[in-house]
């Protein structure tokens, strides 16, 4: 049903599309980063598209990611993956899932983001419900959303260093805010030399 959406998208914004795919009945469109905002605006405003319901927004860290059944060795990225804008392999996929309550069709937008330049245009100005979701993505993955109205950490505290859902964050590393003074090992004291 919503293959129509992909066809319409290809017809109107063919140059902005990296690739199109279908997964478990969901249509996915990889969009070039610099044209994402134009495509999203068109998806929202065009009466034939009318994507009025944002579903979720998140990010995937592809560090060391391998497809199933691949022999051990250096990480292999799928040949079909539409990386990326500057020749290096992109590490992150930022994902937005959209739905139209009017036409009852769905579309997932994806954007490949390299590690050294982790920024994408924000869609929170088009769909305000993405505001907190993009803040969470920033909080956990460190993706900078250009044009976001209020890009701050949402779950963690400002003192937190790093981004915990990145695959290279040490999975047991804690960053305590407060500890008892009489603890045998007080990590705050050992790190800062008292406070």
């Amino acid at each position: 049903m919503s293959a129509k959406v992909l066809d319409a998208l290809k017809a109107s914004h063919g140059s902005a599309i990296e690739s199109l795919e279908t997964q478990h009945g969901d249509e996915i469109a990889w969009i070039k980063r610099d044209q994402l905002l134009a495509v999203a605006t068109w998806l929202k405003d065009n009466p034939a598209m009318a994507f009025d319901a944002p579903v979720f927004s998140t990010c995937i860290d592809r560090l060391d990611w391998k497809p199933v059944d691949v022999p051990p060795g250096p990480p292999v990225y799928p040949a079909s993956a539409p990386w990326t804008d500057d020749g290096t392999k992109a590490r992150f996929e930022v994902v937005w899932q959209l739905r139209s309550t009017l036409h009852r069709h769905r579309l997932r937008l994806k954007c490949a983001v390299p590690e050294h330049d982790a920024r994408v245009p924000s869609l929170a100005t088009l769909w305000p419900a993405f505001n907190w979701q993009e803040r969470e993505t920033f909080d956990m993955y460190g993706i900078k959303f250009d044009g976001h109205p209020d890009l701050r950490r949402i779950y963690l505290y400002e003192e937190f260093v790093g981004y915990p859902l990145r695959k290279d964050y040490p999975k047991e590393k804690r960053q305590p805010l407060v500890r008892r003074d009489d603890l045998p090992i007080n990590p705050i004291k050992t790190e800062t030399g008292g406070h």
Binding site: Y155, L156, Y157, P164, Y169, K171, E172, K173, R174, Q175, P176, L177, V178, R179, R180, D182, L183
Partner: protein
């Protein structure tokens, strides 16, 4: 302050065990009228409600009355996971309670962090405040909670709660200073 809270180094064990009749009477009163502050952060709260409900009935031990202000309560029940972000809030709640005060860590998350071993969960509420009784279980059975409460009552009666020991220690240090 420089006063160690640990109870292992006792200069004079006899003077610690000594309780006047007034102490005994006061502690007897204290142990049967615990006012609970429920610091409920997670799913263990459901089990805490069933302890407070009529079937298990924590009222039999005089601890049924939750005060939702730390200033009016003397038993802090930490029910559920404590995150690193909550640490300062927990410490502040504890600091606002009037002496003497007792703390129960309810469930493995509050006791040790439970199955969380990651960036956000604190490995036990005793990283921030002194805890008197730990209750294991995920969540604990209500019987375990009552058992812990009886254990705490024994401890209050004999003056072995953390805050009682701290007060006693400060008294002894002050006495020693005046004797010199």
């Amino acid at each position: 302050m420089g006063v160690e809270i640990t109870t292992t180094r006792l200069e004079n064990a006899a003077s610690w065990a000594k309780q006047s009749k007034l102490d005994r009477a006061t502690n007897w009163g204290r142990k049967f009228s615990l006012f609970t502050y429920p610091f409920v952060t997670a799913c263990c709260g459901m089990e805490f409600m069933s302890v407070a409900g009529p079937k298990y009935d924590i009222a039999r031990f005089g601890a049924e009355f939750p005060r939702f202000s730390p200033r009016q309560s003397d038993l802090l029940m930490i029910v559920g996971t404590i995150t690193e972000k909550q640490g300062p809030a927990l410490k502040r709640v504890f600091d606002q309670m009037a002496e003497p005060k007792w703390v129960i860590a309810f469930g493995v998350c509050a006791s040790t962090g439970g199955f969380y071993q990651n960036y956000h969960a604190m490995p036990g509420a005793d990283q921030v405040i002194p805890v008197d009784v730990f209750i294991p279980g995920c969540p604990p059975r209500p019987e375990q909670v009552l058992d812990a409460l009886i254990m705490l009552m024994d401890r209050i009666q004999s003056g072995r709660g953390h805050s009682q020991l701290r007060t006693k220690r400060e008294q002894l240090i002050a006495e020693a200073a005046t004797n010199e």
